[in-house]
């Protein structure tokens, strides 16, 4: 899984901690989401997308081969 969280976070000048506070999760969760090593629940994916003024399908995507 790949995400555009880091890109959008930079666009809105947010640190990982800022985004974590907005979403209500621990900072490491944002870190692992950005790295694509954590598959979030639909609720968390929605909350992150909302915090970054985006949508789930714009934020998270899978490589075709995966």
């Amino acid at each position: 899984m790949r995400t555009r969280i880091k890109e959008l976070r930079a666009r809105y000048d947010l640190t990982q901690e800022d985004l974590a506070r907005k979403v209500g999760v621990r900072r490491e969760t944002i870190l692992f989401l950005e790295k694509g090593t954590y598959n979030p629940s639909l609720k968390l994916a929605y909350d992150v997308a909302k915090a970054l003024h985006s949508s789930i399908d714009e934020l998270f995507f899978f490589d075709d081969e995966s």
Binding site: R26, E28, T29, K35, G36, Y38, N39, P40
Partner: protein
């Protein structure tokens, strides 16, 4: 508020355990290898608990939740794996008594020692698994 209460309660239990260990160390009588193990293993558990609580406190102080969906999921998974480890530890103690104690002359573990070994090692397994899982993004 609930998070702070649970952290304070956890810290209280950790301190209480530490006091018990210190009192035990200061107590009369000779200390043998088995007794040393019974001191070191709870000490590791207490240090693990303090580290765990410190991590939670750090998040609360930063205005972040002490636990979220990822940490809860990984804690449950660590618990499930630790349960399996507990079963193997129990089987291990049985094998020890059959193979080492009965056939090779090693000291036999009595019921109390078996319970102590199972409780302490499964607790250590739970902490170790939690730390391992928390260092990874997700465990499939």
């Amino acid at each position: 508020m609930k998070e702070k209460m649970s952290i304070v309660a956890g810290a209280g239990i950790a301190v209480l355990l530490l006091v018990i260990v210190v009192l035990y160390l200061l107590g009369p009588g000779t200390i043998e290898l088995y007794d040393v193990a019974l001191i070191i293993v709870p000490l590791i558990l207490v240090v693990g608990a303090i580290t765990f609580l410190w991590d939670r406190l750090k998040n609360v102080r930063a205005g972040l939740p002490s636990a979220d969906e990822r940490s809860k999921k990984l804690h449950w998974k660590a618990g499930a794996y630790a349960y399996i480890a507990t079963i193997w530890i129990a089987i291990g103690t049985m094998w020890y008594n059959i193979i080492f104690a009965e056939n090779l002359g090693y000291p036999e573990l009595n019921a109390g020692q078996v319970v102590a070994v199972i409780v302490l090692l499964s607790g250590m397994a739970w902490f170790a698994l939690q730390f391992y899982f928390m260092k990874h993004g997700d465990i499939e």
